[in-house]
């Protein structure tokens, strides 16, 4: 049995999406290069604008507020750098658990004279609106807070954050890639928002940035005058068509299903002794489970599970190419010895109950086998040894 439980990394492209894209590869393969050009180009232009409309309708925004980009990373950069370049200088507020495409862009801006506040989060990964309120300065130009965290699943109070930004007339960006289709987003409180295709069973290599009509941002690279002058370059028409198709397939019924499955998994796993739930117990993505097992290390869990056909992920340092542990688990205050034992399971609409039963059985078995192998059997010894070596 093959069970894919890494849907926060990427999702399977839906068959309906592939079918919608196919004609744009080898039949309607034109590009909208000229308004007064040939039919193949006009068809491409129609497909582009129709797709834009589909996504705008879903979000209840205007088509000219949707800009297509190559991915979440580019959209996030376009939002943050685009505002920074339009303003020239100032103060930006973000959080310590944003994506690297936000964090490293902010770090880059620090070298250019911008000042950045990285808001802390509580032990559940929540940003406090009060913290935001007190971080605001006269020269604050932008607040960027993700809708939901892809690792621990915590969903922020975007309405409260957006209202504070609105009161102070500060632009508010949210990376809503991880929550797209899973959680409602109060678009009326948001100025810029990132949505990516590959997390909603659309193709990779395409995303969008919502840019409220009355906002001016500057492009991050230069060329032709596409996408309202904000994003040059030929449009990835098959990708855009596939993205829009994926949006039409979003449905609340999947959310309900995943929420039930998630709660079942959390109940089963937290019943294992010395196991902690990471992230918020309630304000949490319907498809996200993240737990830490004391005494064992996550890479071995992921590897054993993979050998049994189950794809999962971990925040363990041993699993990362630079041996750094998850900065998100660090930000919520988890001790490193515990975060080594973290395991993330993320569901999709295609995840079946049978797959979940299979995965649960094997997770329990693997955890018990690895714990048998571990020198640690009780929290005291484990924590004490960690503390000693911390000194």
């Amino acid at each position: 049995m093959q069970v894919y439980l890494d849907n926060a990394t990427t999702t399977r492209t839906a068959d309906e999406v592939i079918e919608a894209m196919l004609p744009f590869f080898n039949e309607k393969y034109g590009l909208p290069s000229s308004e007064f050009g040939h039919s193949m180009g006009i068809d491409a232009s129609d497909a582009l604008e129709q797709s834009r409309k589909t996504i705008a309708n879903y979000l209840n925004v205007k088509p000219n507020e949707i800009v297509f980009t190559s991915g979440e990373t580019e959209s996030n950069n376009l939002a943050v750098l685009g505002v920074a370049r339009a303003k020239g200088k100032g103060h930006i507020i973000t959080t310590s658990i944003e994506r690297l495409s936000i964090l490293n862009t902010c770090r880059h801006l620090e070298t250019k004279g911008f000042e950045i506040t990285y808001l802390p989060v509580d032990k559940h990964g929540l940003v406090s609106p009060d913290d935001l309120q007190s971080a605001i300065r006269d020269d604050t130009i932008l607040v960027s807070v993700q809708h939901a965290n892809p690792e621990i699943g915590t969903v922020q109070d975007i309405k409260a954050i957006g209202e504070i930004c609105g009161e102070h007339n500060i632009l508010f960006h949210t990376d809503a890639s991880s929550s797209f289709g899973l959680e409602d987003l109060p678009m009326e409180h948001i100025d810029l928002a990132t949505f990516t295709s590959h997390l909603i069973h659309g193709p990779k290599g395409i995303a969008s940035l919502f840019v409220r009509e009355d906002i001016t941002i500057k492009p991050i690279f230069f060329g032709s005058n596409n996408e309202f002058g904000i994003r040059p370059g030929f449009e990835n028409i098959p990708g855009i068509v596939g993205f829009a198709k994926a949006v039409t397939l979003l449905s609340k019924k999947y959310v309900e299903k995943m929420r039930k499955q998630r709660d079942h998994i959390i109940n089963e796993l937290t019943a294992i002794p010395h196991t902690y739930l990471n992230g918020h117990p309630e304000k949490r993505l319907c498809n996200n489970v993240n737990v830490s097992f004391s005494f064992i290390e996550g890479e071995s869990v992921v590897l054993h599970l993979d050998m049994r056909g189950i794809a999962t992920s971990t925040g363990s340092a041993c699993s990362s190419p630079n041996l750094k542990g998850s900065y998100v688990l660090e930000a919520v205050g988890q001790d490193p010895e515990v975060s080594h034992g973290s395991l993330r399971l993320t569901l999709s609409r295609y995840t079946t109950d049978r797959e979940i039963e299979y995965a649960l059985k094997h997770i329990k078995d693997v955890v018990s086998k690895l714990r048998e192998m571990s020198p640690f059997k009780d929290e005291d010894t484990f924590r004490k040894m960690a503390k000693e070596e911390h000194k």
Binding site: E297, S300, A317, C318, P321, E337, M373, S374
Partner: protein, 126 residues
């Protein structure tokens, strides 16, 4: 399945040799720490300055588990002097190599063994 590990590493990871706690060891060596994610305990039984039995417990990644298992195979039967000279490289070579990044962080079994031998000697030289 094309893991970043050799077949040998995967074999030892799946079916480790000499794994478990030893009832009355002559000495126990430790290496690594929970903060870094890899901890090895090595238990030895010694007779006539020779390791006649070795068991181990490891918390760690696939490389940590496989290197401890491999080291057990290599050390059992060796004299303390011989066993003391076992290097990380020898362990890695016996496993048909390790990913470079794992050479130093998870390949700690030889250190744990040396720690056990040191403790054994301290106890028996007194």
């Amino acid at each position: 399945m094309k893991y970043p590990y050799s077949k040998r590493v995967i074999e030892h990871f799946r079916h480790p040799h000499h794994m478990g706690r030893m009832k009355n060891p002559d000495a126990v060596g430790v290496a690594g720490n929970p903060v870094c994610g890899d901890v090895m305990y090595i238990y030895i039984k010694v007779k006539d300055n020779r390791i006649i039995d070795l068991k181990w417990e490891t918390m760690g990644c696939a490389a940590a588990i496989a290197t401890t298992s491999m080291l057990a195979d290599l050390a059992i039967g060796k004299t303390l002097d011989e066993a003391e000279k076992l290097t990380k490289k020898e362990v890695a070579d016996a496993l048909e190599g390790l990913p470079p990044i794992k050479m130093h962080c998870s390949n700690l079994a030889a250190d744990a063994l040396r720690d056990a031998i040191k403790k054994y000697r301290e106890k028996h030289e007194n």
